[in-house]
Symmetry: C2
Subunit: 389 residues, 2 copies
Amino acid sequence: MKGKKVFVIGAGMSSFGEHWSSSLRELIVDAAVKAIADSKIEGKDLQAIYGGCMASGQLTGQEHIGALIADYLGINPLPSTRLEAACASGSVALRNGIMAIASGFYDVVAVGGVEKMTEVSTELASTALGGAGDEEWELFNGATFPALYALMARRHMLEYGTTEEQMAMVAVKNHANGAKNPFAQYQKEITLKQVMESAYVASPLKLFDCSPLSDGAAAVILASEEFAKKICEKPVEFIASSQASDTIALANRKSFTSLKATQVASKEAFTQSGLKAKDIDVAEVHDCFTIAELMAMEDIGFCEKGKSGKFIEAGETKIGGSIPVNTSGGLKACGHPVGATGVKQVVELTWQLRGDANGRQVKGAEIGLTHNVGGSGATSVIHILKKAF
Amino acid sequence: MKGKKVFVIGAGMSSFGEHWSSSLRELIVDAAVKAIADSKIEGKDLQAIYGGCMASGQLTGQEHIGALIADYLGINPLPSTRLEAACASGSVALRNGIMAIASGFYDVVAVGGVEKMTEVSTELASTALGGAGDEEWELFNGATFPALYALMARRHMLEYGTTEEQMAMVAVKNHANGAKNPFAQYQKEITLKQVMESAYVASPLKLFDCSPLSDGAAAVILASEEFAKKICEKPVEFIASSQASDTIALANRKSFTSLKATQVASKEAFTQSGLKAKDIDVAEVHDCFTIAELMAMEDIGFCEKGKSGKFIEAGETKIGGSIPVNTSGGLKACGHPVGATGVKQVVELTWQLRGDANGRQVKGAEIGLTHNVGGSGATSVIHILKKAF
């Protein structure tokens, strides 16, 4: 990675769920205060804030989230900026926070992500989320996100023989992990039978193949090497940060069974870090729908193209498997407040690499990877983190 | 400024106005293609895009603007990110584009800003804009933006004897400049009498004290010194980039007659550049309402606190005056597609510093300053640019 080294020196999150009594500003302050406390800095030490949020305008009427965060943390006149890349908003906030340290502009910044999704009807929330795809050519014509991912799932089934049961296994695994995460929206195991018997949302995707609407926030404190060394006993280092784009509309892609943006960003991240997929000990990937986690396994390179069904069947991605995936419960069970997800992934990996992931710890984890997708794959962001103590 | 040096090597904009036959994606592509052509690079030379946009979700249903821009420019898989800080969205996009070069992550990036505001009713647009302030404590209770700035104007009149005529002079000056700008929404001079006789929107602010709803886009190409030297005959250098925040709600401020965020950001920008207000040859400042330009004169330090009324009366801010302000016509006459405004300010100054501002050229201009405000002052961003050839 170019520029100066960048470290995570603190992490925190609100619980994810339906928080009918907490507003957007309360959720992000909750997460930020926890991250600040975890880092042992004080709010006044911060030099800038980067906040990821996708659709607060449509979902709550509030834009200008950056300034709102600085205000409600009581740390004006700190520069504070919102970044958006649909469901990858948290990760682009991270990426710009990383650049702010790498460039030498700042020594210590906070990066947060937040979304408050349950204040409006499910219909309105679905419409807002549809703005992550092509509003003119998809959403306007009725293609909401379950429909777009259902097209990918159907094609993956056709080309590679992937089954609904294999997709269901992703949900079962991620719920098993979420059951051990006190911050998860669904802390409850589910069975393959329950997934298979749940109602179709957009065939072949059933209710339990889909991540939920969620409220929540997550935050991390990033610092330069000089600052991290002074204050932090267990820093975690970013050794890769990459981002790629693809067409906003699914119809313009050459393939429906892989996300080119993920392939490009992964390749770049492995080049930056000098690592290969097999070097990763633990990963948080974007399972907005179960098919998305299967495709991510192939696009990142954890398994061969078309083999992700067999890969989950073999238990490779369970805790204890060759590459534990979504120990937090993923978007599926931990929940998916869209702007928060990318930051939550780094929070989970920070805990994993520090050995703090009680009950769901991956033993000896030293290197972790996050994969966060915007829309149906028009943005993909990869971060690789390394234990640095 | 920290990190590596950063230069503007190309600039372009769409015309600003009511573009009922152009969509958001067409406007930003228009501006970006002009900036790319101006820089003499090709689209494929770009390494990243930063796009400012405030409220596309509420105004058009489309989020994920970064990916949309890369797609419609035909340059996937380029990383492309949207930034938002209300009416300062364009300037925070610039700031992050600057950091991306300063950090060494990239050598050449595009920064764009866009807003498409006239597809919805004026009422809905006003509501969306209200999300730049405090949705819960201001907008929800009926305080739209003319009301918030009217409170500032009243207090400025009370404390410093500023008059409605002096505010009107800002509109007259900016329309005189806009009349010479082929990209301006209103290319028409107006008289003091016309402003004074226009209807009150929120007393003491009248229709001609207010900037309009606009559609439009602007773009610049930023490059490292190595890259700029190879390709560009007339580069312009960023010698300061600063940003500050303040409370999101006006009610929580100590003063209604100055924006603390502007004062803090200006001080920081002058420290970074080693310059003083008197060293600036030309400025684009945030005149969303005429009172805002007067306050900016004081907050940046072009005149003493409370003296901005006399300052405009004396003609100091006209082309030919001691500090020409808003040669583009400003938000008032050039128009205010909110996400585009901060980038348009840099486009205008790039033209001024290169000597390309036909008909409205400030003779011998070598140093320019932009001032872009989000909301009622919860964000303020200052950039200082210098002729570098």
